[in-house]
């Protein structure tokens, strides 16, 4: 390692380290976290790397403090991140809602392990995907991406920062223990090839009239002023009006919460990411993500060899759920199979969107689902047809 921010070149890199390097490449200069397996290597890497490039690393007393600190740092204008796993993510649910309500961009990395509770600290899971969607109280929307390789951990960490700033919303990078602890080739591009989107910023210098929560443009995103710039902003977790002032009325609440949701939903096309495999003529569609998608792809390839009309949709974005893409597939597909390392979470989203039967290949977690049970499910569904 060195004092360079972007380690351009080809590396044989650990998934958690790829996350740390992706964050630095994206311009993240503040990390607050609390050690937790299997995400700790992200903190360790950043503890060494951030000071080299005038960034700040701080180990907090718990995950409640970690997320509070990154929201504070981001409100001061610095790209900020924390990393955790299930038990820590549960503690972060409180201030996930605060970041949504205050519209403060930040990135939360969740290297998922077997859950619930302390579960399987060193072994993989994918069972936090519904928690990030629903776990903080109230109606809200966040963005979540699920990488399936260390390279994609690097790439999606950068995308997460860009999306967080673009929409002023927390973005969750939902990897799993397999991907976090996997070592693979990671290619880091030249610094000028790293995409960096800026936050929408006030158009005018401070003159007392800036309304910090007035959306500017059709995307419903307000420009963001940072602490110390003279705009004298007020940010609160209370329901607020366009000035940021508390507004304790049903009308103000309806207006604010609806906008916070529409801000994500109406821009879903810009946020959603998926990858198709053999889908052009597929009658059976396998949907998977993260490490499980690696097994699912193998199962789909094997089934194709056997002549079965099967394809795969890999979810890269979990939230917003790519429902339009799944709806389009449902126009010609006869059945769906969802493979995931939990007992049926994203499969419920598929069931919500399609009318066809949805088979699940589920496992509570602890070990990657191998290709065989997915292939068996494909054969069974194909046999029925």
């Amino acid at each position: 390692m060195s004092g360079r921010a972007v380690l351009t070149g080809k590396h044989f890199m650990h998934g958690d380290h790829a996350c740390a390097e992706g964050a630095i490449a994206a311009g993240c200069r503040f990390f607050a976290g609390y050690p937790i397996t299997p995400s700790t290597e992200i903190a360790e890497r950043l503890a060494r790397r951030l000071p080299e490039i005038n960034g700040t690393f701080i180990q907090m007393e718990d995950e409640l403090g970690s997320i509070a600190a990154i929201i504070g740092a981001s409100a001061a204008g610095v790209r900020s991140m924390t990393a955790t796993s299930g038990p820590g993510l549960s503690l972060m649910m409180e201030n996930l809602g605060l970041a949504v309500m205050m519209e403060v961009p930040c990135v939360l990395v969740d290297i998922q392990r077997g859950s619930p509770s302390t579960g399987l600290p060193t072994m993989a899971g994918q069972s936090d995907v519904m928690q990030v969607r629903w776990g903080s109280h109230g109606d809200y929307r966040v963005i979540a991406y699920a990488p399936w390789s260390p390279q994609e951990v690097f790439d999606l960490t950068i995308l997460s920062f860009n999306m967080a700033d673009r929409f002023r919303v927390p973005v969750l990078l939902m990897a799993d223990e397999v991907i976090g602890h996997m070592v693979e080739r990671v290619e880091i591009p030249a610094e000028d090839q790293i995409p960096r989107w800026s936050r929408k910023r006030p158009l005018h210098p401070p003159n007392g009239s800036f309304r910090a929560f007035l959306p500017q443009g059709a995307d419903l995103v307000p420009p963001m002023a940072h602490a110390g710039e003279g705009y004298k902003v007020h940010f609160t977790g209370l329901t607020h009006d366009e000035r940021g002032y508390p507004a304790m009325t049903a009308e103000a609440h309806q207006r604010l919460v609806t906008r916070l949701i529409d801000k994500i939903q109406s821009n879903a096309d810009e946020i959603v990411r998926t990858e198709p495999y053999y889908l052009d003529d597929a009658k059976i569609v396998v949907i998977s993500y993260g490490c499980t998608a690696r097994s699912a792809r193998r199962a789909v390839e094997d089934a194709r060899q056997l002549g079965m009309p099967v394809g795969m949709l890999r979810l890269i974005s979990l939230w917003p759920f790519p429902e339009q893409i799944v709806e389009q597939l449902a126009a010609s597909a006869e059945s769906f199979i969802v493979a995931e390392m939990n007992l049926g979470q994203m499969s419920r989203e598929v069931e919500r969107v399609v009318k066809q039967p949805v088979e699940g290949v589920f496992h509570a977690g602890g070990a990657m689902i191998p290709p065989e049970p997915i292939l068996e499910a494909i054969k069974e569904v194909a046999g029925r047809g």
């Binding site: 200069r29 503040f30 607050a32 000071p51 080299e52 700040t56 701080i58 907090m60 007393e61 718990d62 409640l64 403090g65 970690s66 509070a68 600190a69 990154i70 929201i71 504070g72 740092a73 981001s74 409100a75 001061a76 204008g77 610095v78 900020s80 409180e94 201030n95 605060l98 205050m102 940072h226 602490a227 110390g228 710039e229 003279g230 705009y231 004298k232 902003v233 007020h234 940010f235 609160t236 977790g237 209370l238 002032y245 508390p246």
Partner: protein, 280 residues
């Protein structure tokens, strides 16, 4: 005939969000006095108003952030200190003050408070202690005196309260003081002192809460509690052990006020930089 004098401008007009008045605080509440001291200290500080940031948690005192015409952040219950820590570390040019209540800072936020003091992060904490949870209607909290009554301790508080100056001193804060809302000039001066004091600083401000705390404890009006402060406050001197700073309103014990701790441990950021130069 008396002449009517009209002021064009209140001295604090620029620093209070007057468009948010009237405030939510009850008649006799002490929080406004503490906030006024903070506002005055900002105006008298050599630091530009744009650099001052106020961060609050939840509760009556937590509403201070909403009334100050500064960059102001009203965070979640208990999390003002870590939020402020992140903000200060991200932009060291800011003067970040946490203005919150005893329940917010010492109960739900207690762990953050002691760890920020231990780390000696360069934030300025003003803790208004009114001995109870006022906004929710007078429940006991971590500072409620032993035996005092609250809506959740109708037979008397069975728990010993935190002695906050002692707690913060043991945790490593660079500067620890206590005053009451009777001591407006001293509060303002102490806030000014903390603005020029690097590291973690803590000022406890005892404040009347006649509606929440007073009504259950025979301190019916805000002025009655101010009178109690006047009778019982004693300026701390070297002969008093910190264990003695605990507050027991039932007994005729002194309430010690003044500056208890003033030391010059290097703040967190400076230590980080020093370590990196030495060991990098």
């Amino acid at each position: 005939m008396a002449e009517t004098l009209l002021a064009e401008k209140h001295p604090l007009d620029d620093i209070i969000r007057a468009d948010r008045l009237p405030h939510i605080w009850c008649s006799g509440c002490g929080i406004g006095i503490a906030m006024r001291c903070y506002a005055q200290a900002i105006l008298e500080s050599d630091i530009s108003v744009d650099q001052h940031v106020v961060v609050s948690g939840i509760g009556c005192t937590g509403r201070v952030a909403g009334y100050m015409n500064l960059d102001s952040y009203h965070t979640t219950h208990g999390r003002a200190v870590p939020f402020a820590s992140g903000m200060k570390l991200a932009n060291p040019d800011l003067m970040v003050t946490v203005f919150s209540g005893d329940g917010d800072l010492a109960a739900i936020g207690g762990n953050h408070l002691i760890h920020a003091a231990r780390r000696n992060v360069d934030i300025k904490v003003i803790c208004v202690n009114n001995f109870n949870y006022g906004m929710t209607g007078g429940q006991t909290g971590p500072t409620t005196p032993f035996g005092a009554r609250g809506t959740t301790a109708p037979y008397g508080n069975p728990e010993l309260p935190f002695n906050l100056p002692y707690l913060l001193a043991a945790s490593g804060a660079n500067y620890v003081s206590r005053w009451t809302t009777l001591h407006a000039r001293q509060i303002k001066q102490e806030i000014l002192n903390t603005f020029v004091k690097p590291g973690f600083t803590f000022i406890e401000v005892l404040a009347p809460c006649p509606i929440g705390f007073g009504k259950s404890n025979s301190i019916d009006a805000g002025l009655d509690e101010m009178e109690l402060y006047r009778e019982r406050c004693v300026l701390v001197n070297d002969g008093v052990e910190m264990e003695e700073y605990g507050i027991d309103l039932r007994e005729e014990r002194p309430i010690y006020v003044g500056n208890f701790i003033d030391r010059d441990q290097l703040p967190y950021r400076a230590v980080v930089t020093q370590n990196r130069v030495r060991n990098g």
